[in-house]
């Protein structure tokens, strides 16, 4: 038998018991019994695997604690949300207010309160701008929809919106500092728009409001922008949300509002 006939993967399978109960086991068993090359290879691999088992045991027994910085971040992300009483009123927030991360741990049974907190119940109050300039000096003047003959629901409801068709990824999502500050970057890209809107369902006001409502349960805060875009090449809503502690980008899939927020990703802005 040629030395080249030793199949190391097959031999590994045999020694590891992966061939048990198959005809191949008998075949390899015969080879190991009759071929010096197979026998030598089997003996060598068996000895090596014993050492590997010891090495893996050493790794298994080695402590691998979560690094403190990552643990702290998870603690903040999982902390139950605390509502900022100031957020329910359209007044300026105190400068230097201490902020905390709040993330997944939204209570389930606070729908009505959160709805108001989030802004769905008072959408006109949270309108800002998509036409450039600051949010303050353009308050209440939602950007005209990219397709002027087809007003966007959020715009009609008061939350500024834009249909950019921008392609986001996890890496790019948190790079923009502020959706309102960077309004100029979120201009409508007609060249990237398909003939049939991929966001059709969520362009309908009832569906969008349902979506925003369930998002408010997952991330209580104030919606400042709804962007019709793509995330990982799939149609998505990228919603800018200001919570008590910071700004977020919340990415919702096209099932948002049906059984939940269909959350694809979220990222705090730096």
């Amino acid at each position: 038998m040629s030395s080249a006939d030793v199949d190391q993967e097959l031999l590994a399978d045999y020694l590891g018991g992966a061939l048990d109960g198959t005809p191949q086991k008998d075949h390899v068993e015969r080879l190991v019994a009759t071929s010096p090359q197979w026998r030598a290879a089997a003996e060598e691999m068996s000895a090596a695997l014993d050492l590997v088992a010891l090495d893996l045991a050493a790794l298994r027994d080695a402590p691998e604690p979560m690094p403190a910085d990552i643990a702290a971040q998870f603690d903040e992300l999982l902390a139950p949300p605390k509502r900022d009483p100031l957020a329910a009123r359209p007044v300026a927030r105190k400068a230097g207010r201490k902020r905390k991360w709040k993330r997944w741990a939204a209570p389930i049974a606070v729908a009505a309160a959160v709805l108001a907190f989030f802004g769905v119940g008072r959408l006109p109050e949270v309108a800002s701008t998509m036409s450039g300039g600051s949010a303050q000096d353009n308050r209440g003047t939602a950007e005209s929809a990219p397709q002027a003959d087809q007003p966007m629901p959020a715009s009609a409801a008061g939350i500024p919106m834009v249909r950019t068709g921008a392609q986001y990824t996890r890496g790019s999502l948190g790079l923009r500092n502020s959706s309102t500050e960077k309004a100029g970057e979120l201009s409508y890209r007609s060249e990237s728009m398909p003939a049939t809107s991929p966001w059709q369902r969520l362009e309908q006001p009832p569906a969008l409001l349902d979506c925003l409502h369930v998002i408010s349960l997952a991330l209580p805060g104030r919606a400042t922008l709804v962007e019709y875009a793509y995330f990982d090449h799939k149609p998505a809503l990228v919603i800018s949300i200001t919570t008590t502690d910071r700004e977020w980008r919340f990415v919702a899939g096209m099932s948002c509002g049906l059984t939940g927020p269909d959350e694809l990703y979220r990222a705090p802005l730096p």
């Binding site: 993967e9 090359q37 060598e44 000895a47 080695a62 691998e64 603690d75 999982l78 139950p80 997944w104």
Partner: protein, 201 residues
């Protein structure tokens, strides 16, 4: 990790699904080091591990109500974590495969790797583990490092038990080469295979 909350894992998960805002955080804190170890050893990268674990915990947080108690909560969590890691690595195709012993690999020529030294064995093994194909790595992490049964891991990863056995067997053989426990193909008495054989069983 010790925990002052007397509730069991499954009770915490049920409480979370019922709206307890503290339950999931408690469950995570209870198991976070093990979950972190699974993520880190499966991805082989700190940032990937953190991202994958975040994805996984988000998924667990959202889908807690689907937990049916057919397995331990830790098994359920491990499944979510390792699948998030595997999905992430597959998307990025960031892993680098290591040939089986005898296959054409520049690192396999020449002298065997120096035997691992006791004090840094874990680090060396972790680095070697990171060089395996992600499917083999995930299987080894769950079976050899986390102590799950082959049947459990097969269910976690949605493949046949034989596939898990094969992934583990071949992964260990690759580790043997990477860790210098197998002689190199040019060494006396070594019988290499001439081609890479087919995939898993």
């Amino acid at each position: 990790m010790t925990s002052a909350d007397p509730r069991s894992d499954s009770e915490l998960l049920l409480a979370h699904a019922a709206g307890d805002p503290h339950a999931f955080a408690e469950l995570f804190r209870r198991h976070r080091d093990r979950l972190w170890a699974v993520a880190l050893r499966t991805t082989g990268d700190r940032e990937d591990a953190a991202d994958a674990l975040q994805e996984a915990m988000l998924s667990a947080h959202r889908n807690a109500a689907r937990f049916r108690g057919e397995s331990a909560v830790t098994t359920w969590l491990h499944r979510i974590v390792v699948n998030a890691c595997v999905d992430r690595l597959r998307r990025r195709q960031a892993h680098r495969t290591v040939p089986m012993p005898g296959q054409d690999d520049p690192r396999a020529h020449g002298e065997p790797a120096a035997p691992v030294v006791d004090h840094d064995t874990a680090m060396v093994v972790r680095e070697a583990l990171a060089q395996l194909p992600v499917e083999q790595r995930a299987s080894l992490v769950l079976v050899d490092l986390e102590g799950h049964s082959v049947a459990e891991v097969a269910e976690m990863l949605g493949v046949a038990e034989g596939t898990i056995k094969s992934r583990c067997s071949r992964g260990r053989a690759r580790l043997a080469t990477l860790l210098g426990h197998l002689r190199n193909p040019d060494g006396p008495g070594y019988v290499p295979t001439d081609t890479a054989k087919g995939g898993e069983r």
